[in-house]
């Protein structure tokens, strides 16, 4: 029987500082044992527990694409009171840590096939959306999806995640990429303004489409209002939620919203589901 509490060892291959504040780092992890890599099959939108022995564990969305099965990537924000995130930020390339997962439901990829997708990410919540984007634009998958609109909102240019990917995506003709920052900055060529008004301006069509929104709570709320206004039905809107977690397998009892566990029944919920749950997140 699988012991879901046991972490698998992974080596930190590379650490990338993502933002000017330097509190966001992306960790490239490689399984120490090739068999573990085979076993650890995930889908876009799932998460894993990064496990530091003697320190603790933290649930983080998987930022890499399932198409790249060699390396797992996680972007972690360092919080001063977050013991695990702080320790992770002090790691060096070559260090070994543990990983448990993959956990959670992930995005409903089968449902997304054949549809247009509006991918809306704010702040550092872009992580699993990056996994999703990289997956659908992969040459083996691209033809199965319709038009792709990606909107990325950040406080300022220096805080924008995955600049290297955004650069690449901006050159592709099969993606409509919109970048927006909160306030005017010299030399900025993207949009200026909060996510919701910019979303309204670009008005992605709701016909045969899904919208996936990840970001800070206020952004999710305002963007959902815009999407509903644009004619998206609740069942066409998806979110990915975060909660404090321990076990990751729906047993330890803390990450619930109503009767649903974010670790097991989520982290991806349609707005239809969210509407039925209490506002306790």
């Amino acid at each position: 029987m699988i012991n879901p509490y046991l972490p698998l060892p992974v080596k930190v291959q590379k650490i990338t500082i993502e933002n000017e504040t330097k509190d966001l780092k992306t960790f490239d992890l490689e399984f120490c044992d090739k068999n573990d890599a085979e076993w650890f099959k995930y889908t876009c939108g799932q998460f894993a527990e990064l496990s530091l022995l003697g320190i603790g564990e933290v649930p983080i969305g998987i930022a890499s694409s399932p198409m790249d099965n060699r390396i797992l990537q996680f972007t972690v924000k360092r919080y001063p009171i977050g013991v695990v995130s702080s320790t992770l930020h002090n790691l060096s390339e070559g260090d070994t840590i543990g990983i448990r997962g993959p956990f959670g439901n992930g995005f409903p990829m089968k449902d997304f096939e054949g549809s247009n997708l509006a991918i809306i990410g704010g702040g550092f919540a872009l992580t699993t959306l990056r996994s999703l984007t990289k997956y659908i634009i992969h040459e083996k998958n691209r033809s199965r999806f319709g038009e792709i609109t990606i909107m990325v909102a950040a406080r300022d240019p220096g805080e924008m995640l995955y600049k290297y990917d955004l650069e690449e995506w901006s050159k592709r003709e099969d993606i409509k990429l919109i970048r927006t920052i909160d306030r005017e900055v010299d030399g900025w060529t993207g949009k200026v303004g909060f996510a919701a008004p910019v979303l309204k301006e670009i008005s992605p069509s709701s016909g045969n489409a899904y919208a996936i929104v990840c970001g800070p709570p206020i952004m999710i709320k305002t963007c959902i209002a815009v999407l509903l206004e644009l004619g998206f039905k609740a069942s066409q809107i998806f979110n990915s939620l975060e909660m404090r977690m321990k076990c990751g397998i729906g047993k330890c009892g803390r990450c619930n919203i109503g009767s649903k566990y974010v670790c097991k029944d989520g982290p991806v919920f349609s707005y239809t589901q969210l509407e039925k749950l209490p506002q306790e997140y």
Partner: protein
Amino acid sequence: MIEEKIIKKNRLNAMLQELSKEYSIYIPAGENGDFRFCELRDTNDELVFWDYRNTRISPKEILFPHSEILYEFSRDESHQFSISQNNDDQRKMKNVILGIRPCDARAIGFLDRVFIGEPNERFVDPYYLKRRIHTIIISLACNRPQISCFCTSLNGRPDGEEGADIIAFDIGEEILLKTVTEKGKEFIKESSKWLGNVKKSDIDKKNKIFKESAKRINSRVSVEKVKEKLDDSFEADFWNEIHRKCLGCGICTFLCSTCHCFDITDETSADRGKRIKCWDSCMYPLFTLHASGHNPRPNYKERMRQRIMHKFNYCPENFKELFCVGCGRCIRNCPVNLDIREVINQVSQLK
């Protein structure tokens, strides 16, 4: 087929002493009314717990210990960690829990739903499962329920069989054992040399005692509508009042026989350490505090609501079962006399 056997109280210890070569046997032990499940010692003394009411700490601790080592780890000179799983099996693998009250036996059935789940469950708790499959539960029907007992309101009975493999009845000089499951039958078969056949007079005695005992449970709450009332009551004003006297000490959740929330935490010394699964409580603010500082349940109100909702709405939703067996521990031990029966009654009367 149900089997019923009988054993004299003064012979029981001899039987258990022999069985203890193969099983770890847990029985209620204590004094002055303060009991807890302990492993049976090597002794010639007669067992004397027949009159005990119930343990303060629920026997869930035998299957779901307060703290349990998930695994140990150590770091070598080159800073590489290695994990070793604790093969706790110097000890005997098989357990017997004898004397657990029917309400608590029922609660174990509920914990099974959480930690083991359905046959196709994606994740099973292997630590719980390993103990559970090797445990035989012999419950002891209640001759004298307490004032704070209210099992009969929650589909339980002082002689309820749910969750037990065998149920024992104290009928005076003797104990009547009735098999409930195949596992129990197997156990009875193994122990047959100690057991005698039941006479009609024993059955009559049993029936008389337990007819009386069910009548002694006068405390009734109305749970029929609780689940559906709570469906629409998340934002009700009721929650602003009900938590007022709660100190947030969490004793209700620790002693509860169905509460199962836990924490995972690390203990280290020098280059060695342990990862430990230990009881936690939804009544504590840290339970849900995010590293960002955000807390979805920041106040007593939200935490009390979570406790009540989890038992009487979320678990019924997920497991089709109210997660309360009416054992009354939270009532007897609350430092400010918060009474869950009153909470249930108030919920039932919500508009």
